[in-house]
Amino acid sequence: METRRRRPLPWLNPGILVGAMAPAVTILMRARSGALGANPIAEALNELGLIALVLLIASLACTPLKTLTGWTWPMRARRLIGLLAFTYAALHLTVYAGLDQGLDLRAVLADVVKRRFIFVGFAAFVMMIPLALTSTGASVRRMGYVKWKQLHLLVYPAALCAVIHFVWRVKKDLREPLVYATILGALLLVRVIAARRRSRPAAATSGPNA
């Protein structure tokens, strides 16, 4: 009776979930106290977007981290981090459309169509929607792993669009967005190298037989 299998690392996801609420709570508290500065809507908008980007990149870092270290815990946190990224992206979009543009949907639509930086940001969000909707184990079973996996490749263009959204948004100082672009590039590189290593021995054994 005492030998029931314990769910591994039961503290991991609850810890991440609670910790990841801190930025939203902090922003809300600073908004109430006036500590967001003279232009609180712009500040909240930028901060929510930054957290969404960081979480999205963090969710993409899980697999390379496992590849490099052999740890398995990052894979247990990957789905939650991805969902948190989507949550912050949704908050970011809500503040933009609701507070910044005052729910003037025509102005929002005009922005999305006319401004390339808003277009790519919106594209990143749209690509994340099906990923969030199919994030459950049941979805994997329903779709079949191969199809599910193919759909979830969308996370790469989504992250790329999110970084480009940041790069195109800044007026002149590209240092900060380029930090995230570099991290994203490094994470993709790890995956490419790992994929090549996996395929090379396979090619070597299958080659003579073919």
Binding site: G15, A20, A22, A38, V54
Partner: protein
Amino acid sequence: MGYRRQADMADQGSNRPKDEVTPEALFRRRREFLKDSLLFTATSVGVGLGLTSLLGGGRSEPPPSETVADAEASRLDVARRGALGTTEAQTPYGDVTTYNNFYEFGVDKDEPARRARAFRTRPWTVTIDGEVAQPQIVDVDQLRRWFPLEERVYRMRCVEAWSMVIPWVGFPLADLLKRVEPTARARYVALTTLLDPQQMPEQKGRVLDWPYVEGLRLDEAMHPLTLIALGLYGRVLPRQNGAPLRLVVPWKYDFKVIKSIVHIRLTADQPRTTWSAAAPAEYGFFANVNPAVDHPRWSQASERRIGELARRPTLPFNGYADQVAGLYAGMDLRRFF
């Protein structure tokens, strides 16, 4: 009492009843629970601190509280008030002095207020030369003696689609230019900010091509709305707002209104100005506020007045069309944005 204690002590002996011993499994579960709780706390605190450390400060700390003597010392003698100004609600002093674009002190808006605190604004001279009959080097305090100061409450519209209303204290640039007697060849005015990377930390980087240069056509510079400001809110100009002297041109986007000026040069040709050279498709030489011409990355049709929630429509020439539209008669304002 004594009896009970004796019984308690007896319990701790070897003949403690078996059912008071924590079963090993339960003991393990408790240890596990404790360990899990600690790891949960560590994870949530770590993730929370990590993510919140990415958030900006927003508002920089307010400047050290002024003594009465300081406030008195910084008060300017204003000879005239109310001319050519707006009666709209003024943006609070705290917002005007903590939300600044002054790239020499950092690209974030809260940085100038923090990083310009030790900026030396005296002694300070301004060189005026080029196409003038009376080139000279003037001390900034001399300017105060030459020209009576007046207060002008102007709208200020940033190219980033936010705006303020600021009570500036200064004198018309035209008064200064007349004094140095522009020659017949003078058609433009180029103004330059101090170049001093020791004091202006961002000048060590390459965000912009330093020093910052801005320019006006001579007729724009001579327009009665165009000011050299030495103060705001009746006080000496704060460092983060461009002390000791700056340009104010209320119908243009505010990247035109150069701060901490050391050089005013009159020229025959249009000067190369910093932002229009850095991104010519985004920032024109004229940079007149125009709701009909969008910035490539955002609409200029509306703006957020600092302190207000809803956006308000942006007015042509920032609401000064009556006074200045004539300067651009016959010009294609889409081309010369």
